[in-house]
């Protein structure tokens, strides 16, 4: 079996196709930001998660430290239980604040972690005690209207 130009062209085609897939995965997609390192799971309860979705990012000081794994309704006190997996390299104090924030005015929602000063660190399966829910635009407008009508009196 000798090599032919046909083989060359098929080779070029296959290599180009696979290269396109790799470009899509790394340059267009978020595969490069997935960390393959080990992770541990933490939980947080929020009274309202707003538009937070599974796979949303968890950031601390703007740095990606993990992702939201699941969001379920906890029927013991009817709030949202958010499970997130955090990169093992990052440890957080027990009194860390977990806030649901929005990137930009219309951007997607993510969880921002603001570390406290506790010496003890959160272990796998433990929970953020201090949380702040998502800002719901309707509530904000409601508050604003209420305040402005007060001010007129």
């Amino acid at each position: 079996m000798e090599r032919t130009t046909l083989d060359l062209w098929v080779g070029v085609f296959v290599v180009a196709g696979i290269a396109a897939l790799v470009v899509l995965a790394l340059k267009v997609g978020n595969l490069s930001t997935y960390n393959v390192s080990e992770s541990y799971q933490l939980q947080a309860h929020f009274t309202n998660v707003g538009g937070l979705k599974p796979t949303a990012s968890v950031r601390s000081a703007g740095v990606l430290v993990g992702r939201v794994v699941s969001i379920v309704l906890d029927t013991s006190n009817y709030d949202a239980k958010v499970t997130m997996s955090i990169d093992k390299r990052y440890q957080f104090p027990k009194d860390t604040f977990a806030n649901i924030l929005t990137s930009g005015l219309l951007g997607e929602q993510y969880i921002g972690l603001i570390p406290g000063g506790d010496d003890k660190m959160l272990q796998n399966g433990e929970e953020f005690k201090k949380t702040q829910s998502a800002v719901v635009l309707e509530d904000l407008i409601g508050k604003f209207l209420y305040n402005s009508s007060d001010a007129k009196k």
């Binding site: 079996m1 046909l6 083989d7 062209w9 098929v10 070029v12 085609f13 296959v14 180009a16 196709g17 696979i18 396109a20 897939l21 470009v23 899509l24 995965a25 340059k27 267009v28 997609g29 978020n30 595969l31 490069s32 930001t33 997935y34 979705k53 796979t55 990012s57 219309l106 997607e108």
Partner: protein, 262 residues
């Protein structure tokens, strides 16, 4: 009398359609069953990848480039109204990777390669090459049909990926180079919104399914074509019409499964 004749006509058409469906299903199964040879003698499949995949490269690349450029222009015009031009990258990439890449590449593939397959096999049948193979105890499905089938299934995801990558590049050229959208936010918003598994892998699965459908339809139409000049031309037309419809319908079904509520 006329009514009875009309009813008979309808009945004949329905029976004929069911008959053809059954024959098509058996043909598809036979293709899968006899596809051993297309991998043992991979050269046969290579030759078909050359004719259906490599020869479609130019049209796929040029079309992808222009689709991306149009997306860049139109997306910018729309996003500008909401002051969120920086989301142009994610708009271009998501619409290409999820929908336009697989679907348009498959439509082009159907008209560029699918029609050629039908015409080739139809003419092989019309010139009695298929019968000659059977007389020589060569299974025409294993020798002619299966390599083309697998070549189509292999080529389609690669073509769709090339289409999407080219489209993203086209969107980049128009959006960032021409219009002047910020380059950093173009790429970072894109990377923040395109998920590898949810978007890119689902796009690859879509294009695999489309490739399967297009080649199966094209090969069946060619194999089933009446061995006349008229029959072959009719079969070629039917291939393009049926596979385009199949692509769009399958796309709806796949999208409904893949992107429901997430």
């Amino acid at each position: 009398m006329n009514i009875v004749g009309g009813l008979k006509g309808i009945g004949r058409r329905v029976v004929n359609a069911v008959w053809r469906t059954g024959y098509g299903a058996r043909f598809f199964l036979m293709t899968l069953l006899y596809s051993g040879m297309s991998f043992r003698r991979f050269r046969l499949t290579m030759r078909e990848i050359f004719f259906s995949g490599v020869m479609s490269l130019i049209i796929i690349l040029v079309a992808g480039m222009f689709v991306g450029m149009v997306l860049g222009l139109q997306g910018y015009e729309t996003l500008k109204r909401y002051g969120s031009e920086s989301a142009l990258g994610s708009l271009v990439a998501l619409s290409l990777v999820r929908e336009l890449g697989p679907v348009l590449a498959a439509l082009l593939f159907a008209s560029r390669a699918g029609s050629a397959m039908t015409a080739e096999i139809g003419l092989m049948k019309a010139t009695e090459q298929i019968d000659a193979m059977e007389l020589m105890a060569v299974n025409p499905i294993a020798r002619v049909v299966a390599p083309r089938f697998w070549a189509g299934v292999i080529s389609m995801p690669l073509l769709a990926a090339l289409f999407s990558a080219m489209g993203v590049f086209g969107g980049y050229v128009v959006g960032v180079v021409n219009i002047g959208v910020d380059e950093g936010s173009f790429w970072s918003q894109m990377q923040a919104s395109v998920d590898f598994q949810h978007d890119i892998l689902n796009g690859v699965i879509k294009s695999l399914v489309f490739g399967l459908a297009v080649t199966a339809i094209a090969l069946f139409e060619g194999y089933d074509a009446p061995p006349t000049a008229e029959g072959v031309s009719g079969a070629t037309t039917r291939t393009v019409v049926e596979s385009s419809l199949a692509i769009l319908m399958l796309d709806f079904i796949l999208t409904a499964f893949m992107f429901q509520g997430a």
